[in-house]
């Protein structure tokens, strides 16, 4: 049980690295301004993560539907 949890947090960190990479290129297109996130950037990142996951689900669903 505990091992499963640890694997989960481990893979969550790895997944976060990939997601941050993707969303960084999406949400920070201009020059770097300031060292803190502003409201629009935070919103963009949250949307980016959620839409990425939506697409993930959609991809799996679509591939599944192609099998039948």
């Amino acid at each position: 049980m505990r091992r499963a949890q640890e694997n989960e947090t481990d893979s969550a960190a790895t997944e976060t690295h990939q997601l941050t990479q993707v969303c960084w290129t999406k949400c920070f297109t201009g020059n770097v301004s300031g060292s803190k996130l502003d409201k629009t950037e935070e919103g963009c990142l949250a949307n980016c993560v959620n839409r990425f996951m939506d697409l993930n689900l959609l991809t799996v669903k679509h591939l599944n539907s192609m099998r039948h």
Partner: protein, 119 residues
């Protein structure tokens, strides 16, 4: 008698090891841990594994920071790293880490949400 001599010889030997490698001090193991039960062995192994996972995590973060902030802050590499490039890089790093945290919390929220839907 034999055992007593053996244990007497142990002492200078240890001293010698310490003299040869002063930076490496063999850890003083507390008496209650000398006979490790399987639980404490397990715990030690798990600590080792998790610290290695942390190291891998940190290494990956450094790699990403460098890659992304180099792209952003050094568009045309010159003869040296200018002060504006340096200040851009430092704020870029801080921003990237803030973004990492935000992405992580959003991701975890989303996972929780999906697990809640499934159950």
């Amino acid at each position: 008698m034999q055992d007593l001599f053996a244990s007497l010889e142990e002492i200078p030997k240890r001293q010698r090891v310490r003299n040869v490698a002063p930076t490496f001090q063999p850890p003083i193991i507390p008496q209650h841990l000398v006979i490790m039960d399987s639980a404490s062995v397990k715990q030690a192994v798990m600590q080792q594994v998790s610290s290695e996972a942390n190291m891998a995590n940190v290494r990956l973060l450094i790699e990403k920071l460098q890659e992304n902030c180099f792209q952003k802050c050094v568009p045309k590499p010159g003869g040296s790293l200018s002060s504006s490039e340096q200040s851009c890089a430092t704020s870029c790093m801080e921003k990237y880490m803030a973004a990492w945290n935000k992405v992580n919390s959003s991701y975890i929220d989303r996972l929780r949400q999906e697990q809640g839907v499934q159950m």
